[in-house]
């Protein structure tokens, strides 16, 4: 009897059924609305083919949202990964307070987007924000910067908030990978005369690349899905300047353009899948081969 081999299969059946019924089928049916004229005014929904997609691609806001989303995702990924690796390397050294510091670095990750958004709204408030007050105190001229009043400063604040919130995950994942590196490898390298940078470059980095890749993938995906912080910090404004795909989807719904909203969601989902597949395909080259 191969009970040990077939039990995992048995365990998968029910979750698969639940996943199919409550996620796969509704999502698929949901995306079909992208090819209709669905809005709150019509009783009977009609099929309209690709009309919604043609209209969307003529919308200037889509380009703005695309650029903003990519910028946020790339900047977040780079910083979260670099900061994650950097802090993890420091925490991996055995010093007294490293366990407490791990908790401190991870704490922002447990805050909700609302809390993080409100914190950064306060920090970067034009009149009373701490950042502007500090800048004024150190003598910066015209220190009342409208951080959330224009596109690039606002996106900087969004990125800062998101990096602060997410860096903890990067640290924890990288730290776990660092702690799985056999000490013998590093000792042997040391004995062979390798300096710190060489040990990092040729031993540590290749061995933690699977974890770094996980960090990069999650950061990319969550960065591309950026919605909550933008909604809280700027609402996608001023105008449509800081829209991301997520806020644009909501904006279209607000204008009673439900089918166009779903169309943007479909385009975005395809983009996410392509990014994930490409990343999975090429990231394996960076990992150490056994």
């Amino acid at each position: 009897m191969h009970l040990k081999k077939i039990y995992p299969t048995y365990f998968m059946i029910i979750p698969l059924i639940v996943f199919t019924i409550f996620f796969l089928i509704p999502s698929t049916i949901g995306y079909l609305y992208a090819f209709t004229d669905w809005n709150p005014y019509v009783e009977k929904i009609k099929f309209v083919g690709v009309e919604n997609f043609v209209e969307i691609f003529q919308n200037k806001s889509l380009t703005t949202a695309f650029v903003n989303t990519v910028v946020i995702a790339v900047v977040k990924t780079v910083f979260v990964t670099v900061i994650g690796v950097g802090i993890a390397l420091l925490l991996n050294r055995g010093f007294r307070t490293n366990k407490m510091l791990r908790t401190v670095y991870f704490m922002p990750a447990i805050f909700s987007a609302l809390i993080v958004g409100l914190i950064f709204s306060g920090l970067f408030d034009t009149q009373n924000g701490v950042i502007n007050q500090v800048l004024g105190a150190i003598g910066v001229k015209d220190a009342q910067i409208e951080w959330l009043g224009s596109r690039w400063p606002a996106l900087t604040v969004v990125n800062a908030a998101e990096i602060w919130r997410s860096a903890g995950y990067g640290v924890v994942i990288t730290l776990a990978a660092l702690q799985s590196i056999p000490a013998d490898y590093l000792e042997a390298a040391k004995m062979d005369g390798a300096n710190g940078w060489q040990r990092f470059r040729h031993i540590i980095l290749p061995m933690i690349m699977p974890a770094v890749n996980v960090n990069i993938l999650f950061s990319l995906i969550y960065g591309l899905k950026m919605f909550d912080l933008i909604l809280i910090l700027t609402g996608g404004g001023p105008g449509h300047e800081t829209e991301s795909f997520g806020t644009l989807i909501l904006s279209e719904m607000s204008r009673d353009r439900y089918s166009q909203s779903v169309s943007i969601n479909l385009i975005f989902s395809i983009m996410l899948v392509i990014v994930a597949i490409l990343f999975q395909k090429y990231s394996k080259k960076w990992e150490a081969k056994e």
Binding site: F22, N39, P40, L148, P238, I249, M253, R255, D256, R257
Partner: protein, 457 residues
């Protein structure tokens, strides 16, 4: 032993499935958030002691009923709403479950709920063409034959109608909208209430030179741009409105529309909204006005008593209200009342109790109690306990001369207060030109009209 293990695994599987399904919610009280919609909040109104019987014209349901009310968060804090709800619960023994949605995303949440069939027993919303998204004929009780319709003021009644049927009870304040201004600042600077657009701009320059922000504009929240004050004047002629609503006229064809958008741009460029207006919020308005940092704001007469006095007691005595000089009309204009309506979901299982609730609100004995001493012009003909605001009294003669009916919201098909204002924000910040702004606003309006299958679009 193997049998025990099998049972154990089966139980674990069942628990996993159950915990997965526990995340699903049904309708009713809680508002479910997904990743693309904001979360609404639910406040439960607790029943106080229900000792007395209902008022003469209202029959209470025999068993206590809980009625759900869906409304914008700002509306549920109105003192007359709280008063009538308390009165209703005390007299009938029924409970009211107030489901308040955030101000900025309220429309989206409400429309989403309607689209998914999650409609409360009672719904609050402003009337006019914006109601089309909620399909009144399909969802709301037709009150055209109700006794209280005859009691509604003539200047309010049109707003209660959709396709010539009365759907909503206008239980609301009837405020006059324009520009509220600090008379103390004006007096100190030797200024009088402007009578022309040029005088208004001169006043702004004088105030700015005195180191005070001429007009506080809560730009970040978008809706306080209140461009409908200008739009109202453009469609008082029903022929012009008819052309717009049949797609034979556009915003771009109306010179006053361009002048109005240009006004917003000029005010921004000249610093009359302040240097850092892009991040001004509506919540910051009381402090700006109350502390004398700003002299004016686009608003309505009851704002001073309902919002300023609560934070700066007595300050409303320093304020008056002038016409809105927003570039559309040289002499400026006030906007007549916009009233929020109370609708009954005709497909609700509590429809009879909800109708009784509306009848309760429309009873003069009850509404006079709720509006007692509240500063508003009356919505009902039998409303006698309200008092006019000090701002209204200080400008009564001008108000009588220059008030125009609210037209933009109720009558312009495809008019959107927030989405349209976003394009004005972009224009004010130099992101787009005036013509690009108007083209974008036209495009949005036309798209909505097309979606509504309006003839001509």
């Amino acid at each position: 032993m193997m049998k025990l293990k099998k049972m154990g695994y089966t139980v674990i599987c069942a628990l996993l499935v159950a915990s997965t399904m526990a995340g699903c919610t049904s309708a009713a009280k809680s508002t479910t958030a997904d990743t693309t919609t904001a979360v609404g909040t639910t406040a439960q109104e607790q029943t106080t002691t229900a000792a007395t019987t209902a008022a003469a014209t209202t029959t209470a349901s025999k068993e206590p009923v809980t009625l759900t009310i869906l409304a914008n968060q700002d509306w549920v804090t109105k003192p007359y709403m709280k008063a009538i709800w308390q009165l209703y619960e005390d007299k009938t023994g029924n409970k009211l479950d107030i489901q308040a949605v955030p101000i900025d995303s309220g429309e989206t949440i409400m429309k989403t709920k309607f689209a998914t069939g999650e409609i409360s027993d009672i719904f609050m919303h402003f009337g006019g063409s914006g109601l089309a998204a909620y399909q009144p004929e399909k969802n709301f009780v037709d009150f055209s034959g109700a006794a209280w319709v005859a009691d509604v003021q003539d200047y309010v009644l049109p707003q209660t109608k959709f396709n010539d049927k009365v759907y909503g009870l206008p239980f609301w304040e009837a405020s006059i909208s324009g520009v509220i201004y600090n008379t103390e600042i004006f007096d100190n600077l030797g200024l009088k209430m402007p009578t022309t657009q040029a005088e208004f701009m001169t006043a702004c320059e004088t105030i700015k030179n005195a180191g005070i922000t001429p007009m506080y504009l809560a730009c970040k929240d978008t809706w306080p741009l209140l461009y409908q004050y200008g739009v109202d004047n453009m469609f008082l002629d029903s022929a012009v409105l008819g052309k717009l609503n049949s797609n034979t006229l556009k915003y771009a064809d109306i010179p006053a529309f361009k002048t109005m958008i240009q006004w917003y741009k000029d005010m921004a460029d000249k610093g009359y909204f302040g240097d850092k207006f892009a991040t001004n919020t509506y919540d910051g308005a009381p402090a700006a006005l109350g502390e004398g940092k700003a002299a004016m704001m686009l608003s309505w007469d009851s704002y001073a008593s309902s919002d300023l006095d609560t934070k700066y007691p007595g300050i409303s005595s320093k304020f008056s209200i002038m016409p809105a000089f927003v570039g559309a009309v040289d002499g400026g204009s006030y906007e007549g009342p916009n009233v929020c309506l109370t609708f009954v979901n005709k497909n609700s299982k509590n429809v009879e109790a909800a109708k009784e609730y509306v009848a309760f609100m429309a009873d003069p004995a009850n509404y006079n109690q709720a509006f007692k001493d509240f500063g508003t012009t009356p919505v009902f003909k039998g409303e006698t306990t309200n008092k006019t605001t000090s701002l209204y009294d200080s400008a009564a003669a001008v108000i009588a001369e220059k008030t125009v009916a609210s037209t933009a919201w109720p009558s312009v098909i495809g008019f959107t207060q927030v989405e349209g204002a976003k394009y004005i924000q972009e224009c004010m910040l130099g992101i787009s030109s005036v013509d690009e702004c108007i083209a974008a606003m036209d495009n949005d309006r036309i798209q909505i009209a097309k979606a509504q299958q309006t003839p001509g679009f």
